[in-house]
Amino acid sequence: MKSATGYVKPDRTTPNHHRRGTGGEAKTLNTIDSMNLELPPDARYLPAVLSAADIVAGVCGLDKEKALRLRLAADAFFLYLCRAVAPGDTITIAAGGGRYYARLSFRFKASQIDLRSLNFTAVFSPEDDSGEMELGLFMASRTTDRFRLEHQKPDMFLLTAEVDKAYPETAEAPPVFSYSSPFRAASPDPDILTEAAMIAASQYPAWHCPKSFFYPGRFLDMLADGYYTARAVLDAASRPAGLICWHPLGERGIALSGPFVFTGSDRAHIARLLTEAFLESVARSKAICALSERATDDLPLEYFDLLGTLDYFEAGCALAKPAYYRLLAEDTGAAVFAHHDMEAFLRKEYDRLALLRDILPATATGEAVPEHSVLSTTTDQNRGLAGLWPLYPGRDMAANLSEHAAVLTKRSLPNILVHMDLSSSWQAAMAPDLIKAGFVPKLIMPNAGKSDILIFQYASTC
């Protein structure tokens, strides 16, 4: 047996570095110190992994139930990997997180993995002969709030699981102010920004509001972690009359929420103040593109370009909801992959948007494809919204997508979006499977992932 090479050391190497989370939410990586463990794939080291999960749950402030969820995920993933990783290799575990979540990640080497039990649609039956390991993964996928699988280089994988802190939903109605001009853009205290988020949640349809607007404590923690940045417009008495907030998206994108305007008059002026405050704030940042997938009607359109529309299904009605973007710097061009079925759509859209893209063919060329695909799923019941992110290719992709659409629709989540990263040839090659499963391409989100993201929407019949 290889001797244990466990070491624990603080890791402050990536403060405030944002990455795309499973399900498309960018996450603040390790805003608390993380600890690293390097262990052999041997179940006897499980107590060390569970200890790391317990410690990080405590540091991140998870309650008892959430801490148990993290522990269950740690248990399931490590035991699964003990089987999947060859003896002699190691599993590197990083435990960290931020004020509002805890994270465990497992870096390992494996020739092939079968993680289909992580699919949202997976069903475990006691009679199933796939065994205890799959039950563990099945449980882990349901106890974590997000997970992600990255195929980093040949045979190297990074599996990440996150569990969010529990927060009480807002109980009291936000204050109603009588505003007086002049209005000015400002960067007030987080408490004021959180109050503004609560006002926004009470005045705007849920479609426009981030989930955290309904949980003031969570929004505060996300601001403190640097996941969200926000600006407000204050009136003459420094009361919040408007809010705009944003978070990193992908490698160099920004996702924008708002502008939210709380006054009856001066709406256009306040929206413009908010938008300019946002643009000036990110002008010299690393971001090159701002996206507004669920813009409010107050968005001043002269600052943004129309990407396209998404169909929003609510109470049996379909409403066309526009999505906007703007580049923050001069476009230097890029290369993206596209399946033949998507090429005409992409060329037309890139031409309309005047974006320079070299389109490379993404077509299966006889290479071995794993049997089972894995998709990551996030849900937002307030908006009846589900997001799917392809994690791992598989020959069953079309069936897996169909199954996801059926299960999510049944759960009153008719707005189902698949996010295809066009920097990935295997994801681009999924196009025929998506079409077969009833999805249609809707819009391109430039620079929203490693490259551009092509959004497919399920053609719901609601």
Partner: protein, 371 residues
């Protein structure tokens, strides 16, 4: 090996490198155009003065094998003669960006800050950021630097105030009275850099001359460049001038041998015969402005211009979209989002045919967007 990120200071980790535009032939291929008018960098469309052109043409290729003079000896002496100062008060750099870094490195320590405007040339802020120093950004008042707010921002850890005079990209400038009042307010508490990259475009007796001011205010440092009026942007030659005592400290952090032989010789030649060139360039800029301003008015576009060979205009759509659409017409402008002027573009004032091409292309682009 240790993870690379552990070896990198946090202020470098958090900084994003600037991405310059791609070479012209590549851009022309990408945008499907056969010619490209560069109106994005405030280059001089007339090129360098005649004397500089001749020196360029006469450059002996064998000299390329020989190191340049390490501290631009001849050029510093020529500058000293021109401005009636000692040669040791000048330092020449590879463009003024290099001298910005030299000054910040010479005077700033951990915990120090610099002050400048929020909407001005970005390099002061960038160099301070990736060197680990704080930049205090003071909002412009209207389109000009706000002297009172800048004075209020100074504290005991402020080492340098950068005043871009005339300001890039608004073209505003402080006159003699405003500058004197500001320097009196600073009262020697910190250094004041006057970046006069566009000063040769101003022909107004009210414009303060930094070279003269530093004789009465020893905390004044002046930056000038051969990249704009002198049309030598491709050779990258800029310089700093200050009191002997101040220059002596900057010299300690200034890279020697960074200005190549060709750049030194041609810059020197440019100084020798600049009168005609200055007048011709100013005339070109004025003519271009008198063509563009009514064109912007007729298109219903707000515009701002002052001193310098550039003008800003506010677009009815995002500046980055206008950039891409104009590139399809072979016109390259500078988007102003990165200067914190969202939806504005900055256009270099150039020769009449080029300005006419620009106006025609902009009109077509806006009409198409409207239609």
């Amino acid at each position: 090996m240790r993870p690379l990120a552990e070896l990198v200071p946090a202020y470098v980790l958090g900084f994003t490198a600037y991405t310059p535009s791609k070479p012209d032939p590549l851009l022309m291929r990408q945008y499907g155009v056969t010619r490209l008018h560069r109106l994005n960098n405030n280059e001089n469309a007339l090129g360098p003065p005649e004397s500089a052109k001749q020196t360029l043409a006469a450059f002996n290729p064998e000299q390329a094998a020989i190191y340049p003079n390490g501290d631009s000896f001849d050029l510093r002496h020529a500058l000293a003669a021109k401005f009636n100062k000692e040669p040791d008060r000048f330092l020449v750099g590879n463009g003024s960006c290099e001298v910005i870094a030299s000054v910040i490195k010479a005077f700033c320590d951990r915990g120090d800050n610099i002050i400048t405007a929020d909407k001005t040339f970005a390099v002061y802020e960038w160099v301070a950021s990736f060197s680990g120093f704080t930049t205090r950004l003071v909002p412009l008042a209207g389109y000009g630097f706000n002297p009172q707010a800048m004075l209020e921002a100074i504290d005991e850890r402020t080492k340098i105030v950068f005043v871009c005079n005339p300001n890039n990209p608004t073209g505003t400038w402080w006159d003699n009275a405003a500058m004197e009042a500001f320097l009196a307010g600073v009262d020697g508490r910190c250094l004041v850099v006057l970046d006069e990259a566009y000063r040769e475009f101003v022909d107004d007796p009210r414009f303060p001359d930094g070279m003269e001011l530093m004789e009465r205010h020893p905390n004044v440092i002046v930056f000038r460049t051969f990249s704009k009026m002198y049309g030598l942007a491709g050779l990258r030659v800029g310089y700093v001038c200050a009191s002997s005592a101040v220059t002596e400290f900057i010299r300690r952090t200034h890279t020697v041998y960074s200005v190549n032989s060709l750049g030194q010789k041609v810059a020197l030649a440019a100084l020798e015969d600049d009168r005609k060139h200055l007048l011709a360039t100013r005339r070109m800029a004025e003519e271009a402005k008198s063509l563009l301003m009514p064109a912007f008015d007729s298109l219903g576009l707000e515009h701002v211009s002052g001193a310098g060979n550039f003008i800003m205009a506010r677009m009815p759509v995002s500046d980055t979209l206008i950039y891409r659409l104009l590139m399809r017409h072979g016109i390259m402008v500078r988007t102003m989002s990165s200067f914190r002027f969202p939806n504005w573009i900055r256009v270099t004032l150039s020769t009449r045919p080029v300005m006419e091409d620009f106006v025609a292309a902009l009109g077509e682009v806006l009409a198409k967007l409207k239609g």
